[in-house]
Symmetry: C2
Subunit: 417 residues, 2 copies
Amino acid sequence: MQALIITIGDELLIGQTIDTNSAWMGQELNKLGIWVIERIAISDDKNHIIDTLEKNKNRADVILITGGLGPTKDDLTKHVLCEYFGGELIINDEILQHVTEIFSRRNLPMLEVNRQQAMMPNNCKALFNKLGTASGMQWQIPFADKVGQQFIISMPGVPFEMKYIMQTHVLPMLQGLSNTQVHHRTLVTAGIGESFLANKIKDWEEALPPQIKLAYLPAIGMVKLRLTTRGNLNETLEVALDKEFEALKILVKDYLFADNDEPLELTIGNLLLQNKATLSVAESCTGGFIASKIVSIAGSSKYFDGGVVSYSYRAKENLLGVNNQTLQTFGAVSEECVTEMCKGVLQKFNSTYGIAVSGIAGTDGGTDDKPVGTVWIAVGTANKIVAKKYLFSKDRFRNIELTYVYALKMLMEEIKK
Amino acid sequence: MQALIITIGDELLIGQTIDTNSAWMGQELNKLGIWVIERIAISDDKNHIIDTLEKNKNRADVILITGGLGPTKDDLTKHVLCEYFGGELIINDEILQHVTEIFSRRNLPMLEVNRQQAMMPNNCKALFNKLGTASGMQWQIPFADKVGQQFIISMPGVPFEMKYIMQTHVLPMLQGLSNTQVHHRTLVTAGIGESFLANKIKDWEEALPPQIKLAYLPAIGMVKLRLTTRGNLNETLEVALDKEFEALKILVKDYLFADNDEPLELTIGNLLLQNKATLSVAESCTGGFIASKIVSIAGSSKYFDGGVVSYSYRAKENLLGVNNQTLQTFGAVSEECVTEMCKGVLQKFNSTYGIAVSGIAGTDGGTDDKPVGTVWIAVGTANKIVAKKYLFSKDRFRNIELTYVYALKMLMEEIKK
């Protein structure tokens, strides 16, 4: 079973919005064994929308469309689809009641444009949107040139509303229809480049059975490796997939961060939980990025005590007890300073583990002996603190993310000792 | 002049990677008056790549392709394009020297796959990549059905390498060719929904001259409004665009955050700089998210002192001096607690302004009188602190982002007083 995603909106083409919807949809469809063959982003333009539908109407079992369902004038999708499928807009009473309730609950007057959100094409199935005023729409039409039916589904572009409609209506419907499956095993490595990883696993990769495919997914500071098989997962194939995955884990063990596709902060969180340990962080160059990543996991309060963002000398002294003499002699970006920062945060929060980072993220602030990209990371416990120096890149965002990845890698190594 | 973007990689289709490249490319092309007509994401598959090129070869003046240029087996783009354009791969000495240098500088052995990165099709222009081993490629071919030439450009998918090749080679080349222009004026509003904004500016919007187009770009807690004209910007059109933009600013003044398209943290940073003021933050439910946003701006050390992530009662007491009695009586999510947190952070950092937030982000932790989404925000100076209660959503990420937006909005109002 195959899907195609069409996202509508000039903001996607001029780059004012980053498309996170498609990635989420791709992940969810994948779990059902539905392969996204293509993603197309087009403009809020009637002809472009119709043209794209015409070109793609027989290419996939399901076409998922997002965007252009809002109440404003530049939202054309509902009108264009209604016309394209030869329907007519009529009031849907259930949706009207829902929209009315939203406005009365918020104590807001309902405008004519809001009322029009309850107008639906009379030849589609309305996909009720509990979280907003724009409902989804679903058409089911026979393929022109093959047996079966094609589903064309339109949803709002607001991520949490799209997700609601997918989870409530679309995914359960598709789950009933899908018959092939896609299976992945993914692991996360940190601290090794793509080509070195490739070289390390070369012989194993060349000997992979043809029905198992390997993909390298590099991100900042990490490479994910994904094994994939398609088709019905019989016992033999599952055994083969697991066997190859176990072999791969051993080959990359020095760089292995997680043996499933999860964010680093979740892996670390689970590890802290298992060890009944807690963490606090002292951040200079990352400015709260590490803490906010840790906190992005629901339930992180069980193992995360908190942190200090000590951007100035003063903050390092007052909040973390870094010695003024240390700062004067060695500077803030030094082994001595991060070690004292780590000691300080461990004491302040009384946590099992502490992380401290101090560096020159850029774009300015670099010197000859401490160029932009120089970062000191300390990790440890009340008994022992380890500090390492890194030289990352010239790019501020990259340096912040790399500091985060390497700090978590150092922490994992400490916990596993 | 029109462009089309093709991104290659299974990881984009199964949603393992979020495509940020296309957004950046769209923005940069837009500045040159080049309109991105469509973005297509396809799989690492030879037939799919060739099929997509065939279908789109006469649709735009420039086709920008990213991805699939790495050293590993799943990277097919160079080979497929070379074959498609009837070329042959030969060693490029300059690139070979560069790749060799990269490995010797890092004290790493160079592998055969790395050496192959210096093989280039003999019928394209190589776009030298200072930051990595995968060079870009540029073909220039006559249109099949119209006058002129089409450029087909292939770049690596790693964002900072793609950006380097765009900035060094592609954008300067395109700048010389582009003759039409696209002009935008964008403003950012916070704290008002899209349809209310639309109602507020209805009469003005209906009276807009036809050559000026309005777009609503909603994001979490904010709506951006963008005015666009295309074509050569003569004086009359520029005057009209500016006039409409000024009129719009007045209509939305109560919700206006910035009168250009910049992130909130940059607007706030500039405002603090102008007022020679500094900021510190005390974060509970946002866990460092506000601090990390502020610090994402290069040079933020000039106005940002730092922050405390006080995730536990203990941290609120020890680091911010919140009274234990306050926590016992009113709880951590209360006016009293955020006010004391704000006082504490102002004292600790001796900053001009302080922000403190405490809430229940979710997914767990809600109670009947303090459901998930309840957030208290305090903003103020040593003399005066204002606190407000909000009830956001059930979604953890949304609550963290909304807290950030509303905290910055409250801060802006305080600074402007």
